[in-house]
């Protein structure tokens, strides 16, 4: 692991956790980036099919550098049709945060080649209690959390609980985020910074939005944290293109749609393998 100093930024709402050594998610991603490779971070909605942990393993088999596990919420405001439907199915199947955490703990006990982190909506953690939520995630070996409905100015309490529990607080930056705010967000984030590639919700797109590379370039100029772009990255070509500026990509809706259409774990590995090869070839 290499120690990583962050670019001094505008005074942020965070503070004390900046002094801490980077957690596992951040350290791993920085290490991989240092080898010169681009980062591949697939997303799977937990509970959308009974064998979803095998889908996480399938993503890892494809050479993922980390896997984002979605904890389903009844009102996924930032998600498009595919992840909405996956979330709905997961809830119909009785998926709960406790179940997801237990399943991830099990995967971690067997051993994963790359870190797992979660994405969910704030209410799920709020209901659990922020301290308890952070400890629960940390104990299961979950390395970070992305909460798309928790912007910087509401995140103070969560940032300190997450830091105390040693899990990364991945934060999002949008194409509309002004520069000074972007710097404050980078300063408060840990793990990586999630560049929102387009103005819109998650979902597959035929074209890469021009904003995807723009947000990546702006972030790269502002932070030494890994910069990973998600929302609308649907093909290996798009991934390669955005990685001319970004350190990596998140691939979500394409994975989730294929799983809903009945793809086997092997097919998911092959699908994500095409991203891995394209990114490695550059």
């Amino acid at each position: 692991m290499m120690s990583q100093e962050k670019v001094p930024a505008a005074p942020a709402g965070s503070g004390s956790e900046q002094a801490q050594a980077p957690g596992k998610l951040e350290a791993t991603l920085i290490e991989q980036r240092a080898t010169g490779r681009k980062l591949l971070v697939p997303y799977v909605t937990a509970g959308m099919v009974p064998d979803w942990p095998e889908m996480v393993s399938a993503a890892l088999d494809a050479g993922a550098d980390a896997v984002e596990v979605g904890v389903p919420f009844s009102d996924p405001m930032m998600d498009g049709p595919a992840i909405q439907e996956a979330s709905r199915r997961a809830l119909v199947l009785g998926t709960s945060i406790q179940g997801v955490v237990a399943a991830i703990a099990h995967l971690n006990a067997i051993g994963t080649p790359a870190p797992l982190f979660i994405m969910s909506y704030y209410n799920i953690l709020f209901r659990l209690g922020l301290k308890r939520a952070a400890l629960t995630l940390a104990r299961a070996g979950i390395t970070g959390a992305v909460l798309p409905d928790l912007p910087l100015h509401e995140a103070t309490a969560w940032i300190s609980e997450a830091a105390e529990a040693g899990i990364a607080n991945v934060m999002l930056v949008a194409p509309t985020t002004p520069d000074d705010r972007l710097r404050s967000i980078c300063n408060a984030a840990s793990g990586f910074v999630y560049g929102v590639g387009r103005m819109g919700v998650t979902g597959e797109q035929t074209d890469l939005a021009r904003t995807s590379r723009q947000v990546a370039a702006r972030l790269k100029a502002a932070t030494s944290l890994p910069v990973i772009v998600g929302v609308g990255i649907s093909t290996p070509e798009q991934a390669v293109e955005v990685c001319q500026d970004a350190d990596g990509v998140i691939v979500g809706s394409g994975v989730v749609r294929r799983i809903m259409e009945g793809s086997s774990p092997g097919e998911i590995t092959r699908f994500l393998g095409s991203f891995r090869r394209a990114l490695d070839a550059g």
């Binding site: 209410n123 912007p151 100015h153 999002l172 985020t177 103005m199 919700v201």
Partner: protein, 422 residues
Amino acid sequence: MIRENPRSDDPSRSSAPLVSEPPNHAAPGARKDNPMGDPGPRGYFGDFGGQYIPESLVPACQELEASFRTAWSDRSFRETLDGILHNYAGRPTPITECKRLSDELGVRVLLKREDLTHTGSHKINNVLGQALLAKRMKKTRLIAETGAGQHGVAAATAAALFGMDCVVYMGEVDVHRQELNVFRMKLLGAEVRPVTTGSRTLKDAVNEALRDWVANVGQTYYCIGSVVGPHPYPWIVRELQTVIGTEARSACREILNGADPDVVVVCVGGGSNAAGTFAGFAGTTAQLIGVEAHGGAAMTRGIPGVVHGMKSMFLQDEDGQILEASSISAGLDYPGTGPEHAWLGSTGRVRYATADDVEVLDAFSLLARLEGIIPALEPAHALAFVIRAARAGEIPSGASVLVTLSGRGDKDVAQVLEVIGP
């Protein structure tokens, strides 16, 4: 004023503390004489409110708050809006004293007649203000969510008046339940987009409108229909509905020889007609009661949560998954309540109660028969509470009771026919 009824088994019916002196808890920035003040730049009413939105929408909400602050303190904006409310929407609305209903109940019932506004409900007060603001912000496209269709119709009306494009999101279930309102919106030139995700009702329509806003934020103004959503919406909508309370207070003083009503009772869905009414009386000694649908009682049966951009009270399971509300009135079919209500409930300034479908239908019929006014099913909840509380002696005889009649019942007549038969 209102006495407890110890025999009741409904927690919302018996938990009322006797509030004689309203506590004057002030929100940050609130004026001393009006506890319903400015929630400040972060939009908090006590612990409730805030701005729990995707980063993509943060600049838009900040722009909206700044624009509203400027417009609201701009005399010419206020005068323009007042003119439209007067000449187009028919304000001020009267207060009607219900002689026969009062005799029947032994309390003095006054109705604030929002049913007499253009489009037939208080929703018009909000949309005219927001559409005027949208124009001022140079937005060309108005989007809205709707449940029953009242807010959708109002938004489509305002869009027609101001020459803006209008898209209304409506749950597929509600599209079928409210065919006539869907047709009205189309006549007014709006596009109605059925929402087929989630429970396919109002809460999903809000999600879909928010998703549209994220994708089209530059040109689009999201005209939210109640005192819900991220800051500054709960504050903007309350300010725009305060005209109800302000008018009602001065009209009541004329009728009641300078006194305020003893009790003010208003129905609560998201809570906009209630917030607007309460804002006129929060600084008085009137007892304030908000009445929710039994199947949508976020204040009485919900717990704190964070959804639709706000920290407030929601019906949800232990895991924090939001539940579906269910009520005979589509306008109260929302599993949450605005953050200012969450705060007013937590301080005890407002008491929240519920009314069930059966007593609501009785109240609906009683007002029609005794006063010649067919109310919307939403305010029939407020009437149902008054009828129950007066008959139980919870409201002492002779007390004066103001009820906001938030809308007319025309939209509900077909549904009531189906339920109670010809």
